[in-house]
């Protein structure tokens, strides 16, 4: 079904339209939430929270972006609120990240992607939740920078810079662990 039709039905409160949205996007929402929260149960809670709020929130949705992009935005906001509420947001702040990244820039991008998943999880854990989710959406879900700019309400240039820095940080972490391992 066309997305505009689904949107129209959603605005009318159709449960079937919501089910279709669930079929199409629930997995993506869950994985994004999991990348941000690093906890399966909490990610499931966020997934359900997001879809429970869809019938009401969709009334304010103007349809200027894809429904999937809009859902990502709801998810990112819900996760950030959750992290702030839990006071577990003790990860690197952007400023600290910038300082660290400056030290690794210029080392070249000849990294071989043969690290294991656990190490990559740890490497991603070095990033702030928001940046981690940004990297996930770009590199795993193949979203455009334009979509990311809409989701995070940031200029495209800022998104590109943060992605670049995040990649450098993760690669540097992995390289360091590999050299010492």
């Amino acid at each position: 079904m066309d997305e505009k039709v689904i949107l129209q039905h959603l605005m009318e409160g159709s449960r079937e339209a919501l089910a279709m949205l669930w079929q199409a996007h629930s997995e993506n929402v869950l994985n994004l939430a999991f990348r941000m929260l690093k906890d399966r149960d909490q990610a499931e809670d966020i997934l359900m929270d997001v879809f429970v709020q869809v019938p009401k929130a969709v009334q304010g949705f103007r349809g200027q972006s894809a429904l999937g992009t809009w859902l990502y935005r709801l998810t990112v906001n819900a996760c950030l609120m959750k992290l702030r509420a839990d006071k577990r947001h003790r990860e690197l702040e952007s400023e600290n990240l910038d300082t660290i990244i400056e030290e690794v820039l210029g080392e070249g991008d000849t990294w071989e992607e043969n690290f294991d998943a656990e190490l990559l999880e740890k490497g991603l854990g070095q990033l702030p939740a928001e940046t981690r989710s940004m990297l996930w959406l770009k590199d795993a879900e193949d979203l455009d920078v334009k979509d990311l700019a809409e989701i995070y309400d940031m200029p495209e240039g800022t998104i590109k810079a943060r992605l670049s820095r995040a990649r450098h940080l993760v690669r540097d972490y992995l390289k360091e662990r590999k050299d010492h391992g």
Partner: protein, 116 residues
């Protein structure tokens, strides 16, 4: 893009089987708790109060003068309002052959004025 981080080795989750049912239950519970048409949101109140106050003010401005309006040219018969002493004095004016001017007793006239 060659610069991308390869996430393909990471676990990809799928929603639990009962998650959709839980979403439906929460939506049903929310719908029962808040029947349509009985809710007036706080935001609605915020905008409704000044509008209602404005309407009331305009209505009062229009209605109050209409309610308190009296006919400025309404005739009140002196026969129905003046005491008999005053009427008697009034009707006898000019009928007397005496040169003396028959004056109304002060207390009667004064009490009439006070009454009016």
């Amino acid at each position: 893009m060659a610069n991308k981080i390869d996430f393909s080795k990471l676990e990809r989750l799928t929603p639990r089987a009962d998650s959709w049912d839980k979403v439906c239950k929460r939506l049903d519970a929310a719908a029962k708790a808040t029947p349509v048409g009985k809710i007036i949101s706080i935001k609605a109140w915020y905008s409704a109060i000044p509008i209602a106050a404005s309407i009331a003010l305009v209505s009062l401005t229009v209605l109050l003068p209409a309610l308190t309006h009296t006919d400025a040219t309404e005739t009140i018969s002196i026969n129905s309002s003046a005491p008999s002493e005053v009427m008697s004095w009034y009707s006898s004016l000019g009928n007397s052959t005496s040169d003396d001017f028959d004056t109304l007793e002060e207390t009667v006239g004064f009490s009439y004025l006070i009454k009016e």
